[in-house]
């Protein structure tokens, strides 16, 4: 059974100068365990597609089912519930909570989902190679380490799908590699499907499937 299916997904924005078709009829079926890299130039619709997949944005038209169930497309609490249950998210600028330690950042996400498991949190940090930094604050660790914490955080509630938007966009190439390796390792261990949006062609080596977008449409879809 596919993890999720999107059919003819559209997302249009009404601007003063006319309608902007950020997504113009996207069809996509994703199987569990895939590692997808979503490539495309600026304005191609990659982030908009990611936002729709994450139920952050509401499509103008089209269908979206997750594990054969329709994904809520209205009501912010229903969409948030969906995200809480199914989606992990990693941001470009890490967005760790600065007042909490590395370990506390992960425990907080567990708490938000109704549970608290220190052992699991420690395991996740070990998975991303940060078990020595548990009591440090984000400002006391490097950018790459912060991004790895963010990855561990996004896995804290065992999501089915992990989304990353330019998650190495703020890192140098060496650190990017370390972060991506940590991500792959963690996702394989947790058996989590991932979709990473990027404009960096070098990221495709981490993918099992490469999707290119342009002008709001998928222009190529290649299994690697």
């Amino acid at each position: 059974m596919p993890l999720f299916e999107i059919s003819n997904l559209k997302r249009h924005y009404e601007m003063a100068s006319g309608a902007v078709k950020a997504l113009d009829g996207v069809d996509l079926v994703v199987e569990p365990g895939e590692r997808i890299v979503l490539l495309g130039p600026s304005g191609s619709g990659k982030t908009t597609l990611l936002n729709c997949i994450a139920a952050l944005d509401i499509p103008t038209d089209g269908g979206y089912t997750f594990e054969s169930e329709p994904v809520p497309a209205k009501g912010s609490e229903k969409m948030t519930s969906f995200r809480r249950a199914n989606i992990g998210y990693v941001f470009q600028f890490f967005n760790l909570l600065q007042d909490l330690t590395v370990l506390e950042n992960i425990l907080l996400i567990q708490e938000l989902s109704g549970g608290r498991d220190v052992e699991r949190a420690m395991d996740l940090l070990k998975l991303v190679g940060l078990s020595e930094e548990v009591n440090r604050f984000p400002s006391e660790i490097s950018g790459g380490q912060q991004q790895r914490v963010a990855i561990a955080r996004s896995l804290a509630k065992s999501p089915k799908l992990l989304l990353g938007d330019e998650l190495t966009g703020n890192l140098d190439s060496e650190t990017s590699s370390m972060v991506m390796e940590a991500l792959i390792r963690a996702c394989e261990a947790e058996q989590i499907t991932t979709i990473m949006v990027t404009h960096d062609e070098s990221m495709k080596k981490y993918a099992t499937r490469l999707i290119r977008m342009d002008s709001g449409r998928i222009v190529s879809d290649e299994r690697l």
Binding site: N51, S76, Y89, L100, T101, S113, D165
Partner: protein, 814 residues
């Protein structure tokens, strides 16, 4: 370029227009309150000056009073000789003697059927006034006044306050007495008199209510007939000095009337003993002094009120600008990187608070002059019962208020302007995604807590300066309504509470010429417990201040031992017949004279002087009082009693019997009703102040909590994207708001308490002294109010989070 930068800033400020409205409102409220109070004070003092003046519209208030000790009148010849001797020996130091007018003024009663038709005896003061050169009856053109002066010996002009309360009008017949039976007089006029502009029973600062007090203005012959006096009898000489010299104000340390004082002392020294006379200036006349103190208090208070509210506004402006700079520091850094000089950044941040302040000031001044001032004048007419017959001509208080508010608003922008100008571009651009951490000690303290709770605590204290200013703002706003609550509570405790604690008598019978014997006989015949007492005005030698000497038969701290108990704050009860005489003084007297237990002084009753020693200090009196053993006071003054206190059992009718034997009966039930009515009347005014204070606290807390929220947009959006439910985030907000509410409430309550005590301590005067004691019920209610306001803002925070455009935020985050 400057204009473009200003435009940029204004657009940024416009995005936070809700906070701007709050700031403008705060300034406006401050100026409004200040202008309203100032208008009251200015109008009051202008009206009084106009009333007291020697003009066709004024009453020509005397400059000195010479009163016969004990009230016993001088005969016509004696009074005339007295005036002659005064003229002959007059010291022109303070001006020539323009008039010396004998006057008769006596205590009496009015027999009146109250609202329910029950007959009652109302305490009264009757004046014998014809045309008079000085101290005339005041009859302005106003709806409160009607008729004419008394001309015949069976005519009376009733004071407008009493006429209004007792529904007496021109053409009515009234039955009155002054110790020589009851007589019927025709009411020919309703007017005012300077002795009773503040209409209260002698010795009381609480205004009289219907059926408790009346004053009237008869002809000389009329009063002589009423009281059985001889033609020309007088117990006052009223002296009018040319140029109306200044007199020593009781509210200041300096002596404004040194020259008049010299003349006064001279008269006292030369004529005090031969004529048995007491001499005093305007400060010794209760009504004149009380009204002066009231208008002075209002005039002193308006800059303080405006200042306090402007400080709260200033704090809000300061915090808002700081927050704005933080949110704009990247932009400012970019501008600086592009070469914009510091001098171009600063003006906008200095101008913004000035503009906000100006809008608030203009709004507040207009509302103050056209809404607040007329309202306060309405209060003046309603509460004091005095017609507002002169309008405002001096608007200096408006400029003072506006200036105070503008200065504070302008100053609040200076530091933010400097911060903005001194931002270093490189530092900002490097650290733009860093957030100030909370303190290590806090982190250690909270690390064992659940992360959500730890985050709440640490976020709350992340910006200690903002928190401190918020608490200051909340504290000042609570000072406004908290101090009013505490003041009302203290007054209620002193008046109504004091009655319950210290008064065991049901009626106080004022004695006339017949003395105490018939009243004591009545009490004995009717098996009624009684005590004799003396109340006399007197002064401390060397001080130009009037007190009330109270002579008691029994001294006790509870009602088991006396019909009139005393609350002793320090010291011991006085011993009888000691040398020097042992006395108790009230804490106000002790405060102003610098007396303590063991202090020695000399007091004067007319010509007699006696040394006293303070054995104890009492608390709970609003009038300045010195307590003597009645027998000691009788020995000094020759007066055995001025009233008899009676504990009359319920059901025993006494008014007709005792009315005929006395010149007035004060019933405790009437006093209690008076105070209760007054407290209820004050309730509307009190509620308005309470509302104002709560509104300001809401604005201050709202502003801070809104800033806290907007600062955490990044954090909150992250948590929302990661799946945090609105209720989860709401519970985190609740914890933060509770902390701010509880801490802010506690700090604010104590600022309120100590601030109120300091305010009262700085504004008490001889005529009006009391202290504010901590009342834990009020303190808890203040804390609860702040907590409730703080927690009530949580739903707004949750609404704001739920409305967050996560897609836009994700663009920023991603």
């Amino acid at each position: 370029m400057g204009l473009l930068l200003l435009k940029r800033l204004l657009r940024s400020l416009w995005r936070t227009r809700l906070r701007l409205v709050a700031v403008v409102l705060l300034v406006a409220i401050g100026v409004f309150a200040g202008v309203s109070f100032g208008a009251y004070g200015k109008t009051a003092s202008t009206i009084y000056a106009s009333i007291y003046s020697d003009t066709d519209d004024g009453v020509n208030l005397p400059d000195l009073w010479i009163e016969s000790a004990g009230g016993a009148p001088w005969g016509e010849e004696q009074a005339s000789n007295f005036c002659g001797e005064l003229r002959a020996s007059w010291n022109d130091l303070s001006g020539g003697l323009a008039a010396c007018e004998p006057r008769l003024k006596v205590d009496g009663v009015m027999f009146w059927d109250d609202e329910s038709g029950e007959p009652s005896v109302v305490s009264a003061i009757w004046h014998g006034i014809d045309e008079g050169e000085v101290h005339r009856v005041w009859m302005p053109e106003h709806e409160f006044v009607s008729g004419r002066l008394a001309a015949a010996n069976d005519e009376v002009v009733i004071d407008s306050h009493a006429a209004s309360m007792m529904e007496i009008s021109v053409g009515d017949e009234v039955e009155i007495g002054a110790g020589s039976g009851r007589m019927t007089f025709s009411v020919v006029g309703v007017a005012f008199h300077a002795d009773h502009l503040y209409f209260a029973l002698p010795g009381s600062i609480m205004p009289a209510t219907a059926g408790t007090f009346v004053t009237g203005y008869l002809t000389d012959e009329g009063l002589e007939r009423l009281g059985g006096y001889s033609q020309g009898d007088a117990n006052y000489l009223l002296l009018d000095i040319e140029g109306t010299p200044a007199y020593d104000l009781l509210s200041t340390e300096i002596n404004e009337g040194e020259q008049l004082n010299t003349v006064l002392e001279g008269i006292r020294d030369e004529f005090g003993e031969p004529y048995g006379a007491m001499v005093y200036d305007r400060s010794g006349v209760e009504s004149v002094e009380f009204l002066r103190a009231d208008s002075e208090g209002a005039e002193k208070s308006y800059p303080v009120v405006t200042g306090m509210l402007a400080i709260v506004a200033g704090i809000t402006i300061f915090l808002s600008l700081q927050r704005l700079i933080l949110s704009q520091q990247r932009e400012i850094a970019i501008l600086r990187t592009l070469g914009v000089p510091k001098g171009s950044i600063m003006p906008g941040f200095i101008l913004a608070p000035i503009v906000l302040g100006l809008i608030g000031v203009i709004l507040g001044a207009i509302l103050g002059l056209y809404v607040g001032a007329p309202m306060m004048m309405g209060v003046f007419e309603e509460m004091l019962g005095l017609p507002v017959v002169v309008g405002l001509s001096d608007f200096s208080f408006v400029w003072v208020n506006c200036s105070v508010a503008m200065v504070i608003a302008a100053l609040s922008g200076i530091r933010p302007a400097f911060i903005a100008a001194r931002l270093q571009p490189l530092e900002v651009l490097r650290s733009e995604h860093s957030v100030k951490l909370s303190y290590r000690w806090l982190q250690r303290f909270t690390h064992k807590l659940p992360p959500a709770l730890a985050l709440s605590l640490r976020s709350t204290i992340r910006k200690p300066m903002r928190l401190m200013f918020t608490f200051m703002g909340v504290g000042l706003s609570m000072l406004i309504f908290g101090s009013m609550q505490m003041m009302m509570d203290s007054i209620e405790d002193v008046t109504l509470g004091g009655m319950d604690r210290n008064i065991g008598w049901t009626a106080q019978v004022a004695l006339g010429n017949q003395g105490d014997a018939p009243v004591v006989a009545w009490a004995t015949d009717n098996n009624v417990e009684y005590e004799r007492s003396i109340q006399l005005p007197f002064s401390v030698v060397g001080e130009n201040k009037q007190l009330v000497a109270t002579g008691l038969d029994q001294f006790s701290t509870d009602l088991d031992g006396s019909l009139s108990a005393i609350t002793l704050s320090v010291g011991e009860m006085p011993a009888v017949s000691s040398t020097p005489l042992e006395v108790l003084v009230d804490e106000g007297t002790a405060h102003f004279l610098g007396w303590e237990v063991g202090s020695l002084g000399t007091v004067g009753f007319g010509a007699s002087e006696v040394d006293v020693s303070v054995s104890g200090i009492t608390t709970g009196e609003m009038a300045r009082t010195m307590y003597f053993h009645r027998s000691d006071l009788e020995e000094v003054t020759g007066i055995p009693a001025t009233s008899v206190l009676l504990a009359i059992p319920e059901g025993l009718d006494f008014s007709q019997d005792l009315g005929a034997l006395s010149v007035g009966i004060t019933e405790i039930s009437g006093l209690r009703e008076t105070f209760t009515t007054l407290m209820n009347q004050q309730q509307q005014f009190f509620n308005a102040i309470l509302f104002l204070g709560v509104l300001i606290a809401i604005v201050v807390l709202f502003n801070t909590l809104l800033m806290n929220l907007s600062e955490r947009d990044l954090e909150l959006a992250t948590l929302r994207v990661l799946g945090a439910s609105i209720w989860r985030l709401g519970s985190m907000l609740l914890v933060e708001h509770l902390i701010i509410g509880v801490v802010g409430g506690i700090l604010g309550a104590f600022i309120s308490l100590y601030g109120a005590q300091a305010m009262i301590a700085s504004s008490v005067q001889w005529a009006f002294f009391f202290k504010i004691e901590p009342n834990w019920t009020i303190i808890y209610s203040l804390i609860t109010t702040v907590v409730v306001i703080s927690v009530a803002l949580v739903p707004f925070g949750m609404w704001r989070i739920s409305k967050m455009e996560l897609v836009e935020k994700v663009k920023t985050l991603g």
